[in-house]
């Protein structure tokens, strides 16, 4: 199967980017409440690439080992959402949430739990907003913590291991005062993308009006 068979046209791509932007913006509001500092977001990027290329994209930017909290989602379309940090940032994040007066042993013992909870808040917020706007319910798996490189994060459990093209959406964020930065990413395989395309078109028709949708 090639990407060409299920390519997204300009407005579909635009609508999907806007949906992710709104979902991530709302999730950032939740994250801000947890850490007490402003969370700065980039503009979302959307690519149709292989998992290996997606992993490469992250690897080019990050030399450190990565920590990710991931949740698989299923419904009319399915895939995986990830909140990814370089390992150093994840420790700073736990400090920001739990309070800097904790000693190192306490931090280590609660790091995984704190990260899972953060991932849960951020990813749920993001996916729920997107599901609501598309008017389709998504069921979410429990958050799972993965440590490793980009390849591990994108090809580990839950996803089909083939080398097919996936829809890769990502946004990077930073909490400047806390020296924390990371990514929110979403991966969807092509059968899901076909289903998503239908929902995105329904969404466009709803917000634009079906009479005008054909003209733009």
């Amino acid at each position: 199967m090639t990407a060409g068979t299920i390519a997204l046209d300009g407005l579909e791509r635009d609508a999907l980017t806007e949906l992710v932007n709104i979902g991530v913006s709302r999730a950032a509001v939740s994250l801000r409440k947890l850490v007490g500092e402003q969370v700065v977001l980039s503009v979302p990027s959307l690519e149709l690439i292989t998992r290996t290329a997606a992993a490469q994209l992250i690897r080019e930017r990050e030399n450190e080992r990565l920590v990710a909290i991931c949740q698989d989602f299923a419904g009319a379309f399915s895939g995986r959402a990830l909140l990814i940090f370089p390992e150093g940032s994840s420790t700073s994040l736990v400090k920001a949430i739990a309070g800097s007066e904790l000693v190192d042993e306490e931090l280590t013992s609660m790091e995984d739990e704190a990260l899972a909870e953060t991932g849960n808040v951020v990813l749920n917020g993001c996916l729920a907003s997107i599901a609501n706007m598309l008017q389709h319910r998504l069921t979410l798996s429990l958050p799972q913590l993965i440590r490793g490189d980009g390849q591990t994060l994108f090809t580990d459990v839950g996803c089909s291991p083939d080398e097919g093209v996936v829809l890769f959406l990502y946004i990077n964020f930073a909490i400047n005062d806390r020296d924390v930065r990371g990514y929110i990413a979403m991966l969807m395989d092509l059968p899901s993308l076909a289903a998503l395309k239908i929902l995105v078109n329904d969404f466009i028709a709803r917000v634009v009006g079906s009479d005008e949708a054909g003209l733009v």
């Binding site: 609508a15 709302r26 801000r32 402003q38 977001l41 634009v208």
Partner: protein, 127 residues
Amino acid sequence: MGITILIVDDSKLARIVLSKAIAALQPDWTRVEAGNADEALAVIDRQQIDVAVLDYNMPGRDGLDLAAELRSRFPSMSIAVATANVQDEVIAAAKAANATFISKPVTEDGMRGFLSGAALRLRSAGK
């Protein structure tokens, strides 16, 4: 002279949705669009703009940055910033630029207050 509203958003879909809501609420206003802050400033150099609706998260300069510049150049312009990112710092920056918040996704209901307020201010200014 009529009233002109400038819509600035990098998303074409978002511009269509904003434009549609504005057309429903203020059908007599002229709508002009820009895809980023630089385009918006170019439009403003060419023509009179009375009201501006700006997206927050755009490539290049963001909507708050643009709002601050517009405010310094046009003290009485009605400006709104549209975003789902309602973090305290974002709200504070919008307040500092005396801009109204509109939550995304934009709806007619969400636009109504801002547009009628802007219309009222323009009328009392004799426009």
